[in-house]
Amino acid sequence: MTVAVETRSVGRPRPALRSKRRRQRLTVLAFLTPWLLGVAIFFVYPLIDTIYLSFTRYDLLSAPKWIGLTNYQFMLTKDPQVVQAAYNTLWLVVILVPARMLFGLAVATLVTRLKSGLGVFRTVFYLPALVPPVAGVLAFVFLFNPATGPVNQILGALGLPEPLWFNDPSWSKPSLVLLGLWGIGDLMIIFLASLLDVPKEQYEAAALDGVNPWQRFRFVTLPNISPVLMFAAITGVIAALQYFTEAVVAASVASGQATTGGGNSALLGYPEGSTLTYAQWLYVMGFKNYYLGYASALAVVMFVVSLGVTLILLRRARSLVYGAEGTR
């Protein structure tokens, strides 16, 4: 085969080369055509159209009517529920994302220290991440149901306080965090892979320098895993900004009312709006009440926030990585 390489690559005539280039360009285009259409139809066009629709009143029945900044004005001054929804979502970004990352890192670190049965432990810790979200929520609402749930049985037996969990506005979001911690399996796997990739020599060098465990983590482990941590932070924040399924299903099941995600507005974000998220409010306003112009304005704000968060974290990431390299 190598012989063939030499004989054919030597003395290739120029026009053939040019036509080969053109053929290759056509090949690339052929491979990419479906995806390019997808970019146009499901990304570029709807992004631009969303921005346009956000300045209109639109209900699907009649054509969009230009109303300028009215939607944004309404959002900022006349919609108390969007404030609550944004607050709840922000709460999840600030609490749920770091909690999941810290716990995921802790479990991954634990797995690296388990000398025997690593595979079994890894499987057990990963398993809950596979559970379909709706099934996971149902399981947790059952486990944490105040009257007969196993969790409060155990807490009661230990003489600890028994919260109302998904039925108490101040406990509903922490309950969702517990559900999120149960499902850290995917984070654990990528953290584990990254931890196992840290060069052994660096730990040996650190041991010779006589560093304590914190210094070893700060100056050896952290610089090596920071790109993966940053990736997890960005994807985690973006997932939290669109938090929907768990909140909707938890509210519906805990309240004991059938829902299609916002049919009954009295129960929206049960209990007392404490689980109403921004993505759910967008869904309700846009696709239950058909205020599509207003939903577009909500979408534009969501776009700006997720883009901003990504850029800030990426800039942070660069300084973090370089800073760590500087101290090494």
């Binding site: 063939a4 054919r8 290759q24 360009r25 090949t27 491979f31 990419l32 479906p34 995806w35 139809i41 499901f42 990304f43 709807p46 992004l47 699907l60 479990v107 797995v111 220290r113 388990l114 000398k115 025997s116 499987t123 057990v124 810790f125 398993l127 809950p128 596979l130 379909p132 979200p133 709706v134 099934a135 149902l138 399981a139 947790f140 059952f142 486990l143 007969t148 749930g149 796997i189 990528i190 990254s194 993966v228 940053m230 990736f231 997890a232 973006i238 900004l241 669109q242 399924t245 909707v248 299903v249 099941v253 004991g256 009312q257 059938a258 829902t259 299609t260 993505a279 967008l282 776009f303």
Partner: protein, 299 residues
């Protein structure tokens, strides 16, 4: 680690240097081993407990399910059959399989060539295209939802599963990203050799790269299938008004409210919804874990 411990255990202390220090190090190591595994087992129990409690609940009688008892007095596997009479589970299952199978097949048709072009072909603008893939992958679906929803309404496809299936014919960003990561791990030399032998690029992909990327393609297909199986946002958005198109997720979410208040049957339905995913995972664990690891490779 065990190699350094072994000589101490047999009593062959090297040249009698500081036996006590050696013994202490050994004891500390053994204590560390026990402590780590004790914590590991404790955490594992906490992770597994929810599964145990819901399985126990699913076998109880309806009367016992109203109590706070945790262990079934008598075991009732027929609860799992009763679930099918209380809710149209076969319909949900059929819809979910329809959605997941077609979406996965379409995704492979469109995303494999795109990922191939993004990883194995040289062309101007490749990096820009990859950034676009990342942006589409990161973009919350809600951001572009209104125009896309309007589009499907005009095509009279809301109320069906097609709005979730058809877009996969035009590529799925996450799958393209994942497939690209897999393709990049295959040495370029194989493809080069085939090219020099005069293979067209399509043949290079289908005959050389794809056979070598089988585990990666399997993992990507599985992720897509599971995504569809688990999807709640898509089905509630497009089919909530039409129960004939409901999937497992949607049916399960309304199971307790519409048909039951009994936890035993609800938990049986919950287990039925998670069982296929867990079974497939156990059958294809290695492929799966490799796939997840690759999602985090990018910095």
């Amino acid at each position: 680690m065990s190699a350094t411990v072994a000589p101490v255990r047999t009593g062959a202390v090297p040249r009698g240097i500081d036996t006590r220090g050696n013994r202490r190090a050994k004891r500390r190591r053994r204590l560390g081993f026990v402590a780590d595994h004790a914590v590991g087992i404790a955490v594992a129990i906490v992770f597994l407990a929810p599964f145990v409690f819901i399985v126990l609940q699913s076998f109880m009688t309806s009367q016992q399910a109203l109590t706070s008892e945790l262990w079934p007095q008598t075991w009732h596997p027929e609860n799992y059959l009763e679930v099918f009479t209380k809710a149209p589970m076969w319909l949900y299952l059929r819809n979910t399989l329809f959605y997941a199978t077609l979406a996965t097949a379409f995704m492979l048709l469109s995303s494999v060539p795109a990922a191939y072009a993004l990883s194995r072909l040289q062309w101007k603008g490749r990096n820009v295209a990859f950034v676009v893939v990342l942006m589409m992958m990161m973009l919350p679906p809600q951001v572009t939802q209104v125009p896309i929803y309007v589009m499907w309404t005009k095509l009279h496809l809301t109320g069906t599963l097609w709005p979730m299936i058809l877009p996969n014919l035009l590529g799925d960003a996450f799958s393209i990203f994942l497939l690209r990561q897999f393709f990049l791990t295959i040495p370029q030399e194989y493809a080069d050799a085939a090219r020099v032998d005069g293979c067209s690029e399509w043949r290079v992909m289908t005959r050389v790269i794809l056979p070598m990327a089988k585990p990666g393609i399997a993992a990507t297909a599985m992720f897509m299938f599971f995504y569809c199986w688990n999807d709640f946002y898509g089905p509630i958005l497009y089919t909530s008004e039409n129960p004939d198109s409901w999937t497992i997720s949607l049916g399960l979410a309304s199971f307790r409210n519409l048909y039951q208040v009994q936890w035993n049957l609800t938990m049986a339905a919950t287990i039925l919804a998670m069982a296929p995913v867990l079974i497939v995972f156990f059958l294809a664990q290695k492929v799966f874990v490799e796939g997840i690891t690759l999602t985090g490779v990018k910095g």
